[in-house]
Symmetry: C2
Subunit: 348 residues, 2 copies
């Protein structure tokens, strides 16, 4: 049996006469009905519902709009769903999708290879209008494949480097790391440690560079014993934080490269009877919800993850539905310092 | 322009001759090719990729499989994405979707009305194969609409009560609350408080009932001053927890109706210089990731959220693709106590 479509021919666009009739019955303008048909803003929810109701009543079911057939689906692929970091991105993408009148098809790679044939086949079968990739690392084979897809593609957090022909969105990591460290310097700290991420990620290097830049500006000589590398995980924060606190002369403040590392550092401090912020100041990075759940609440650098995802999605919709090229191949949105309760002047 | 479909007629199923040819070229059986076509398990990833590659090479693009046209899309609608609770459910649904060969279309209501016309219109336009609703409360209008949708529907956490004709999945709340409280009784606590949720939710009542049942079994007379009602939020845990700790004779242990409430309670305790677990034991409910980030790590009741969502999704796929009725109209999966560092015997 073929697909069942109520009263819509190929393309599914109702005739001008039909649009005029619906406008008249809804007591509104042709342009408003057109906005509803095209999922554009500027129509109240109540009016939109009324127009859709009328359209539905005359047997119209929107399938494609304008020049070419659209699925009004955007695929989002990400490494794992179950993280507060991923979920801020999904949240931002979903809100923008709602505004743009498209729906998100969400899939997680969960250890599978991003870009395997099965996943690509399914993506093509859905005929999604675009693909938003959230990934820290991209396999070279996939990088080759992406520009050959019929649908446009954008990326978030693409290794800082990106893929030719695929616009990407990130945040100002270097500035964020500098601001985090400068905050500690301004509070009067001189012995400041850092826990950063894996050395092969551009982000880890940027966080270290920002830290060193702020130390230099504060006239503080860097101490290699205060620089730790780990994963962006709670375990890593616990371990590296413990090593920093066990130094003969431990730091009085630590900049953790992620909020999760900061949570692990909290545990290491508690086990050693080190009080935050009286004896140790801590700054995180990301501004996950858990910063407000931590006790004391965690001072951190906000990454505008919702806005990053919203922008990447908007670029996709502009490319797919309006033939608008992206403004730039790489966009970085500004980070900001969020001061809470985990930072204070050093002990006297 | 009509939709572009590569070499697939209505239904999109390749002929027996085509399947046999692909099987021969892939050096495999017709039954294996058929499994790949139908998204069924029992085929290695490598072989599946090879078969899909061959099918794709001869211009086949799967659209429908078997008797009726399928979109292989399942809609998931939830109140908010940005919560650790929602994300465990999404994670479980996505894993099961991957196994079943369907993709998830995720939308959040974010304060909009679940079941408004616009959302329903979009759902119908997508012709999704099914609808998974995650919600604590359902508007009566939507309850009327759901059985009339052409696609099957399941629910998670439907107020405990559910909607006639819509199968739902939950967890054993009452047992979980009893186990949480019994754990505190067994540690020797006699002054045990509870912070539960809004009085109109079945869950809140079940948590209170389980708490009282465990007290009764421990021979402890209930004390109304120890029973607090609030939202399932961190703020509520902070406020109600503070009220409990400020009592002339405060409890030595508190069962919080959600992990978020427990996080708020941690803050209230820290501000009052009350040490967890030495002076106060705390048990949460849900087992969110944040339990491991808390310091000390939080003892809690695990809700098998991933399994709940996976089961609800599997029921949907069985109904939509295999005409299998659900096993029961209401299924509750077992909770379990997870002991971490926030509980200990009462101070001497």
């Amino acid at each position: 049996m073929a697909e069942q479509v109520l009263g819509a021919g190929p393309g599914g666009t109702p005739s001008r006469a039909t649009i005029a009739e619906v406008a008249a019955r809804a007591g509104t303008s042709v342009s408003t009905v057109s906005k509803v048909l095209n999922g554009r803003p500027g129509v109240s929810d109540a009016k939109r519902d009324e127009v859709l109701e009328l359209l539905h009543g005359i047997g119209y079911q929107r399938r494609g709009e304008g020049r070419r057939s659209r699925s009004n689906l955007i695929d989002v692929v990400l490494p794992y769903i179950n993280s507060l970091w991923a979920v801020r991105l999904l949240d931002g993408a979903e809100r923008e999708a709602e505004r743009a009148g498209v729906a998100l098809v969400v899939s997680a790679m969960a250890g599978r290879t991003l870009g395997n044939r099965l996943w690509l086949e399914r993506f093509k079968q859905r005929r999604s209008d675009g693909l938003l990739i959230i990934a820290q690392r991209i396999r070279p084979e996939l990088a080759d494949e992406l520009p050959r897809l019929r649908a446009p593609c954008t990326m978030i957090d693409a290794q800082g480097a990106g893929i030719p022909g695929v616009p990407s969105v990130g945040s100002t990591n270097l500035t964020g790391a500098r601001d985090a460290t400068a905050h500690l310097v301004e509070l009067g700290h001189r012995r400041i440690g850092i826990i950063t991420g894996p050395t092969d990620l551009v982000y880890s290097q940027q966080r270290l560079d920002g830290y060193r830049a702020a130390l230099a500006r504060g006239g503080i000589t860097p101490n290699q014993a205060y620089e730790k590398y780990g994963g962006f995980t709670i375990e890593s924060g616990y371990q590296m934080g413990g090593e920093l606190l066990d130094l003969p002369q431990p730091p009085t403040a630590i900049f953790a490269g992620s909020d999760l590392q900061a949570h692990g550092l909290y545990q290491a401090a508690r086990e050693r009877g080190v009080s935050i912020p009286d004896e140790l100041s801590v700054v995180g990075f990301d501004n996950l919800q858990s910063c407000e759940w931590a006790s004391p609440e965690l001072t951190t650098i906000n990454q505008p993850l919702e806005d990053m995802a919203g922008l990447a999605l908007r670029m996709l919709v502009n490319m797919a539905h309006h033939d608008l090229a992206p403004n730039a191949s790489r966009v970085e949105l500004a980070t900001s310092l969020v001061v809470r309760q985990s930072t204070a002047p050093p002990p006297a």
